[in-house]
Symmetry: C2
Subunit: 219 residues, 2 copies
Amino acid sequence: MTDDQRKNGYGMIREQTIEKYCGDLYSRLPAPGGGGAAAVAGALAACLGGMVENFTLGKKKYAEYEEETVKALAETARIRDSFLRLADRDEEVFLPLSKAYGLPHETEEEQAEKDRIMEACLKDACEVPLEIMRELLALSECLSAMIGKTNRMVLSDIGVALALAHGAMESAALNVRINTRSMKDAEAATERNEECERLLSEEAKIYGTFFPEVREALK
Amino acid sequence: MTDDQRKNGYGMIREQTIEKYCGDLYSRLPAPGGGGAAAVAGALAACLGGMVENFTLGKKKYAEYEEETVKALAETARIRDSFLRLADRDEEVFLPLSKAYGLPHETEEEQAEKDRIMEACLKDACEVPLEIMRELLALSECLSAMIGKTNRMVLSDIGVALALAHGAMESAALNVRINTRSMKDAEAATERNEECERLLSEEAKIYGTFFPEVREALK
């Protein structure tokens, strides 16, 4: 976040009230947008994973999993913080991109300069949702490993976390695609699209296996 | 929110910073939990719908849809506010339920009194995620109607909103089930489960039709 952006009302998302964040999202401000909202939804999912472990830690029944419980508590906290940083980062990389769209392109030189700047901005703007997707996959792996080793009273919260992470995954993938489709460097675009598809498919396997398991266990 | 709950650190969710809400969600506090997180995710989705309309209002290209644009702006704002209230309400109804679990049940009278209180609390606790699901269905209908009638620059945000709403829908449904499964009044439980399944299936039809349409349009 640059001083200029702070002056224009942008700030660290974690410091904003939910009302302010929602109001900015609803408004005509260039940011936040769908990429940031996906990161915030991911943070909610990570917190629910941590909550499940907090309600498990110290319970005799799950004592044999204590080491895993402690590790998962640290991992969900790490991922939550990562998502909140990525929500900020999404705004940081979007603002130069939205400016670049408006650059003059009447002469050949102007067009070439606009293309060069756009391409660099698109690559930055792509990296954020890709990183969100990597963290969502890590979170889904962590959540699915909790099933059967955590307090059954909060089993539904693992399900909620898996479902919110899945929605965030599909969301972040759209944000990768809207940037790769405008890239001129076809190789760079393909590489990113392939990683995007791989992450989507790995997480979909986890969600497709474990969400129904949670749902059935709660019937 | 009662004064007692406020004294214990609960307050309106909209007034909390994202960091505080995430911290409380992660922690061992009895609330917030998965039901509230689903409502907050729904609020993010509603805000994105409003954002899409804010970036459409006043554009010549979409002038013929102005009336719909204005209506959708009001509807997404209404749904956003409803979700934020429902996130508060989820905490309000959960706290008496979590207390009721701990009531004495050694004598027959105590057991009968505990059953009576539990049943009332379960019905209240069920109504909140059901209302979240009703609002999510209304939101999905509103979002899907925006496609083709709104600024194409923010088409991906309709997709993100649909995906986050879908994740919230699956989440809220788990929260209906964890309450109906403990109800003694089988008729009341069945009625609520049936509404839950109907809402799930109506929203799934919208998501299954329109999310792939958005994704394909962005390829």
